[in-house]
């Protein structure tokens, strides 16, 4: 299905490929199938079924569903997965930008300041 010698990023081209009013077609997730040892951990930790069990290595089935939580990369024992993990929270990013801080590193989610995140839902809410 895929050329297993290459890095894979978003090969599924899910719905709405033009990206018209859809900012969520691309993510920072990258997968190197040739490094995969088929331990299946990524398929266990991904909450959006981005990876599926394959014969020799995990299959990259729906990468555009990735929310960049970082669980797969952190739990991959052979660094076959790369992702710039972070929380997709506009409140925190706008807040960081307004305070003159870096949008990418700053996360005030769930902090004392009562941000939109850290909402008391378990497990539905993020951040």
């Amino acid at each position: 299905m895929f050329n297993s010698g290459k890095v894979q990023q978003n090969p599924d081209g899910k719905k709405n490929p033009s990206g018209f009013f859809d900012s969520y077609t691309e993510t920072s997730l990258k997968y190197h199938p040739e490094r995969c040892i088929n331990c299946k951990r990524c398929t266990q930790v991904c909450p959006h079924a981005v990876f599926a069990e394959g014969k020799d290595h995990a299959e990259f089935v729906q990468p555009s569903s990735c929310m960049e939580c970082g669980a797969c990369a952190l739990n991959c024992p052979v660094q076959a997965i790369e992702v710039q993990s972070g929380v997709g929270c506009a409140w925190a990013m706008i807040g960081a930008a307004l305070r003159g801080k870096d949008m990418d590193t700053e996360c005030s989610c769930g902090g004392e300041d009562g941000s939109c995140c850290g909402t008391p839902e378990e497990p539905s809410s993020c951040c």
Binding site: Q44, N75, A90, M103, P120, P123, C126
Partner: protein, 356 residues
């Protein structure tokens, strides 16, 4: 379950201490005590859950971190990890009803598993430290700990294995699936996937609304005196549409972007106000048009801004995507709101100086 921050009272491990050589393991310092819990959810628990969901004292819904006995576990009983947030801990212990097990509660500062994992407080560091502090390896014979799947963004299983010699097994996303999961220790696809159904979206709305209630009331009262009751009602409507109606209708509004969904919803709720302003018989035609334009510009911008901010509460938006949305739509929202407010102020001044 009112256990305030008094962690490490019997354990000298602190977040600052060297995690590699936990001082709990020295012969003089006692290991942290083992507490007992059960699977019953009492009225007090339910009240606490209700207050937690309403955003009441957000940081105070905590349980004491450490090791808990559920039922009468023995050295072969399973070990489950949880967060010290009452909703997380209570979901786990009630799901394990009738099962004798150990529960290892990590100190996540009263934040749920997934959010804490994202921040790293439900993480490798804390898990390894808590295993050492509680002397878990001397309490159970096996070396396996079942961690909720949503803890994975904070946990590196190879790292836990290397440092604490415990094998992390990722259980299902939802604690309520644990009884099924434990029959085979294999999760179905559904158990591994996060969804965001109406009930879960609605349960978030009180916190969203409570955050904005005070500024909303102030603005509504001001507008009542400056521009009349319809303008005050428009303020309340815009906030309710953004914080309650938007989460409820999320999957049914066209387009993928939250901002465009919010603009669409905002245009719909702005319509009656636009109409009402445009037919005010006591004002000249240009003022009617201006009033209608102000409503049509401000309300959708406000609703779209709330909509965009709801991304942090959802279970699927990526940082890359949200960032793209911010750069794409915030300038438009600012332009719309700015123009609308400018028109509103112009109308107000015209009224004050007697032009209309």
């Amino acid at each position: 379950m009112d256990k305030k921050e008094n962690t490490e009272s019997s354990c000298p491990c602190t977040p600052d201490s060297q995690t590699h050589s936990c001082s709990c393991l020295t012969d003089t310092s006692p290991l942290s005590e083992i507490r007992t819990t059960d699977s019953t959810i009492t009225f007090a628990n339910r009240l606490d859950h209700f207050l937690a969901r309403g955003g009441w004292k957000r940081e105070s819904h905590r349980v004491e971190p450490g090791l808990y006995r559920l039922g009468s576990p023995d050295p072969d009983s399973l070990v489950f990890a949880s967060a010290n947030y009452t909703l997380s801990f209570d979901a786990l212990r009630s799901a394990l009803s009738g099962i004798d097990a150990w529960i290892l509660v990590l100190d996540t500062k009263g934040i749920n598993v997934w959010c804490a994992a994202g921040k790293g407080t439900f993480g490798t560091e804390e898990l390894v430290r808590r295993i050492e502090c509680t002397g878990l390896s001397g309490i159970v014979r096996h070396r396996k700990i079942i961690v909720p799947q949503l803890g994975a963004p904070g946990i590196s299983w190879p790292e836990v294995m290397r440092r604490a010699k415990f094998l992390v097994e990722y259980g299902p996303v939802r604690a309520k699936d644990l009884p099924d999961y434990l029959r085979t220790h294999k999760a179905t696809r559904a158990m591994r996937q996060v969804e965001f159904p109406l009930k879960e979206r609605l349960v978030l709305t009180p916190v969203e609304f409570v955050h904005t209630a005070l500024p909303m009331v102030i603005i509504a009262v001001l507008l009542w005196f400056l521009a009349g009751p319809v303008a005050a009602l428009a303020t309340v409507t815009a906030v309710l549409a953004g914080t309650v109606l938007f989460p409820a209708l999320l999957p049914y509004i066209p387009t993928q972007d939250f901002s465009t969904k919010g603009l669409i919803l905002g245009l719909i709720v702005a319509f009656p106000f636009t109409y009402s302003f445009s037919i005010n018989p006591i004002l000249p035609v240009w003022a009617n048009v201006a009033g209608a334009a102000a409503a049509l510009l401000i309300i959708p911008a406000v609703v779209a801004y709330f909509a965009l901010n709801f991304t942090g509460c959802t279970t699927f938006t990526s940082r890359t995507g949200v960032k793209k949305e911010i750069f794409r739509y915030i300038p438009l929202m600012a332009l719309m709101a700015g123009t609308g407010v400018f028109i509103g102020i112009t109308l107000g001044i015209s009224r004050l100086i007697g032009v209309i």
